[in-house]
Amino acid sequence: MKIKAKTIGLAVYFGLLLLPIYWMLNMSLRTNANILGSFALYPHHLTFDNYLKIFTDKSWYMGYVNSITYVSINTAISLSTALPAAYAFSRFHFLGDKHVFFWLLTNRMAPAAVFLLPFFQLYSTFDLIDTHIAVALAHCLFNVPLAVWILEGFMSGVPREIDETAFIDGYSFPRFFITIFVPLIRAGIGVTAFFCFMFSWVELLLARTLTTTNAKPIAATMTRTVSATGLDWGLLAAAGILTIVPGALVIWFVRNHLAKGFALGRV
């Protein structure tokens, strides 16, 4: 009986969670006049015009390409630098370790508004404005600390005897790290990769400040749907539905790592 109540509760929660997204899907398949004209639980006259516009207009679909490019670069940088650092924090005492660990997180705590101008100046100095690498680097400011923190949590859950046994067995550090340790914390790596992707994907202020046309993110392109004649609801909803797709694919690919988690039997 208990299990049943759990499942029902979860189903209700997921139902509520999907409602606003369903409403967005519903709007994306209707014309503006239709959306504003009447209340409709489902689109009576399906139209794919909103999606067609996004897939045929270069300024629209390039927004997705730009976002995917810098988000992928960012996720790669974040994970590859954070993995060794998180290992250091979880396994070693070293001079200033606690301070550095907390300092990392403080980089997520600054309100963005006033920092945008100095950011622009800094990246102009390095001639990086309107490049994907600029946004990817800027997003490292909040993603690298997050990655270190999440990974450290998972690594600390792995008993240190595993490291010791491997070193006694003659594993070098890089070989131990890649062939034994990384598979053990793949749930953590999965979560971290998804979170880096997600936070970089939805960040708008920095991405918009550091780009003009060539690397303009999709979230900035979407603000164009606000015009003098009002909001283009249908187009915005279609673009919104499409912004969910890449991240949903990412979590689809990491889902098995998330679900399997910890498997001591592999060592």
Partner: protein
């Protein structure tokens, strides 16, 4: 678990420090620089010392926004953390349900924040929005543009809808990282499911829950785009949170000096509370079930 003592571990940390410091140090120092100067234009600036800080600290509108912000972040933590843990516990552990739940959970997180606000505007409209029309259909006069309480309820609903999945995902991954041996031991002791939760799952989730609490605290304290789009800080000033007020000063009035001082005060408040949360969560349950 005692850690090894070795300063060579610094080599593993250096890449992270370089990459973060590149974007962190210079902008922060520039903002500190703004905060002690009155800036009229390029090259025209006067050193004013702590004047902006005094102004900011005695600004009653800022105090109001600060209390509002504490109320908001407090509610966010009280609702989202327990709810997220419950969801993670209820989620299936094998079969197709796992993939389905994980992908579903991720959906709200992936929508850009400005779009979230827009979606909720139309979702809550009484004439053409699902939520608005259902609530009004039940005979409740609900209008988040006119009544402060309704605006708060809408914001909280949006916030819980948007961010609880983050807590649930973290908690779920934390639960999956618990070795089966622990559950087997609990079964041999015929422990109740509450005991399993209290003495195995909760302590083992401490790491991920610390991150969840800190992330939710920081991000809800810095919340800008969603309430700005949904309510614009209104009705009146009832949903004007700190960052909405900050942007008003920084962009609206282009008072760079006061805005910079405000940002630094804001930053220090978040820093202080994050540190307190961090210390508290590190020390809770020290010495039990490790």
């Amino acid at each position: 678990m005692e850690k090894w003592e070795d300063n060579k571990a610094w080599y593993l940390v250096i890449p992270v420090i370089i990459i973060v410091a590149f974007s962190a140090i210079i902008p922060l120092m520039t903002v500190v620089n703004y905060s002690v100067q009155d800036i009229f234009g390029p090259g025209e600036r006067v050193f004013v010392g702590s004047e902006w800080f005094k102004d900011v600290l005695s600004d009653y509108r800022l105090h109001e926004a600060l209390w509002r912000q504490f109320l908001f972040s407090g509610l966010v933590l009280l609702i989202e953390i327990p709810l997220g843990i419950l969801i993670a516990l209820a989620m299936p552990t094998r079969g197709w349900g796992v993939s389905a739940s994980l992908v579903t959970l991720a959906l709200p997180l992936l929508i850009p924040w400005n779009v979230i606000g827009t979606i909720w505007i139309i979702f809550t409209r009484p004439d053409i929005g699902l939520f608005g029309s259902i609530v009004n259909g039940l005979g409740v006069a609900f209008d988040h543009t006119a009544r402060p309480l309704d605006a708060w309820i809408t914001l909280m609903l949006m916030e819980v809808w948007h961010w609880t999945p983050l807590v649930a995902l973290l908690a779920y991954a934390g639960l999956r990282a618990i070795p089966h041996a622990y559950y087997q031991a609990a079964r041999i002791d015929s422990a109740s499911s509450w005991a399993v939760f209290r003495y195995i799952q909760l302590p083992k989730m401490r790491g991920v829950l610390t991150i969840a609490v800190l992330l939710r605290f920081m991000d809800s304290f810095l919340i800008y785009a969603e309430p700005f789009v949904l309510t614009g800080g209104g009705p009146g000033n009832s949903t004007t949170f700190l960052s909405i007020y900050l942007v008003k000063i920084a962009v609206g009035q282009f008072d760079l000096g006061p805005a910079a001082a405000f940002s630094l005060v804001y930053f220090v408040i978040i820093l202080l509370f994050s540190w307190l949360f961090y210390q508290a969560l590190q020390n809770i349950g020290k010495g039990e079930a490790r």
